[in-house]
């Protein structure tokens, strides 16, 4: 088994670089640097939103996230310098069970997957042109409607240019103005320096994926091209380095898997899942692939579906087949051993 694993891993390592570059760097002629990833946007052809929000897709993503309570409820500081004194309670069995149930409900909020949507379209609607206002002022006026109860995305923000045109503000101005008048806590008006290419590269090298993704979620809207750029680069980095465990049991794993499936990059993850013998997840992943790309498998059994995917759609067939075969053999032997034990105990 271990020999198989090692061999398959070797195969992947040999194949993966050339493959990835073929897929991703279609525009880029020479890519020698380690972190030279091309950002991949959801360009809205087709729109990923409706697929992502489907109930089946959501449950599949949740299955793939592999919830580990210890990791979900790990110690975090919520911006406080001083730790809080814990509360101690006496509890009966029932109360304790209730408390656990309550905590499990919280998992949903902790693991809410950041939405996957297409990149927003530019705003350039002109409302009126009034050349007679030319020369009124040397600077433009930005008018914001601050009426109560209006969403940030729907707020009316207009610009009166110096030449007298009144037009809708572009997205960059909208973000700035919204943050100015209706600040989101911890969000900055200017893009934080960590998202500059050189700093981001450094962070990725250090493997601070969660930090990048958390901060990106906080700083940007999900339809922001800059958000999608940063997130896609991070996802590619995680995928190439097989650092899946960093993202597991966090809210980002769902959108990460969706990204991989959308861009047909799931082979590394599938290999990782098969090797760690989470066959349910492997099945879910293959099913997710079928949902997104409208692929229909002939067989209905789990293992055969995976087999089918590997044969027809995988780009790293050899490695996956090896790993899958190894898994099957191991499972078979395990069954035999269990049966033997049962027989030895005289149960069957």
């Amino acid at each position: 088994m271990s020999v198989f694993r090692h061999f398959s891993r070797k195969l992947v390592l040999n194949t993966f670089k050339s493959d990835i570059k073929l897929q991703i760097n279609t525009h880029c002629s020479v890519c020698l640097r380690f972190l030279s990833y091309q950002p991949i946007h959801y360009d809205g052809k087709p729109d990923p939103g409706p697929v992502f929000i489907k109930k089946e897709v959501q449950t599949l993503l949740r299955t793939l996230t592999r919830v580990d309570l210890a990791k979900v409820f790990k110690k975090r500081r919520f911006g406080e310098t001083q730790l809080q004194q814990p509360v101690y309670k006496f509890m009966t069995d029932e109360q304790l069970q209730e408390a656990y149930e309550e905590a499990k409900k919280k998992v949903d909020t902790f693991l809410q997957i950041p939405p996957v949507v297409a990149v927003r379209k530019p705003k350039d609607k002109v409302l009126s042109k009034d050349p007679a206002l030319q020369g009124l002022d040397t600077s433009a006026f930005v008018f914001t409607d601050i009426s109560y109860g209006v969403r940030d995305s729907e707020r009316m923000i207009l610009v009166r240019e110096t030449d007298g045109t009144l037009r809708e503000a572009d997205w960059e101005t909208r973000d700035r103005i919204n943050q100015l008048y209706f600040p989101v806590a911890q969000r900055q008006i200017q893009t934080p320096k960590m998202f500059q290419d050189s700093n981001l590269e450094d962070l990725l090298k250090r493997g601070e994926y969660n930090f990048i993704l958390d901060r990106a979620c906080l700083q940007f809207d999900p339809n922001d091209p800059l958000y999608q750029k940063i997130v896609s680069i991070t996802y590619q980095c995680v995928n190439d380095n097989n650092h899946f465990n960093e993202l597991r049991s966090t809210r980002h794993f769902g959108s990460f898997v969706f990204f991989l499936a959308w861009n047909k990059l799931i082979d590394n993850l599938l290999l990782d899942i098969i090797e760690s013998e989470h066959i349910e997840e492997a099945k879910a992943l293959v099913e997710l692939y079928s949902h997104i790309h409208q692929v229909k498998y002939e067989s209905k059994e789990n293992l055969q579906q995976i087999d089918e995917y590997i044969k027809n759609h995988a780009s790293k067939k050899a490695a996956l087949e090896l790993a899958f075969q190894a898994y099957k053999n191991a499972a078979k032997r395990k069954g035999e051993v269990e049966e033997g034990i049962k027989r030895a105990h005289g149960l069957s």
């Binding site: 009126s128 009124l136 600077s139 930005v142 409607d145």
Partner: protein
Amino acid sequence: MLVPSSGTGQYAALSAKIIRFVRHGCTNRPFFHIVVAERRREQFEPVIEQVGSYDPMPNERNEKLVSLNLERIAYWLGNGADCTKPVQELLGLSGFLPIHPLSYMAAWKNRQAAEAAVVEEKPEGDHK
């Protein structure tokens, strides 16, 4: 202890209301609140309600920022509140009201002055 600059919401029912600027900010750095106040009140007395703000100093991107609570402005205008001319001009530029004639006049004057300056410069250049 301090009266909130966003307004107290207290006013006499029959008094005349006006939407106007209140100058906040400090020396050499003006900043205006657009407020609804009773006409007879002084500038820095407690106001009824703040309905916007205006920063007359252009920012880094050469923009002057104006915020307007259009819902409340519409309410107060409907209740017979007046506007001062500068506020009317701003509301005009924002497209909420028709553009105020003063804005057109100011624009025209500025254009004339600019043209005059160009004409003045040219003959000097010719002499040289």
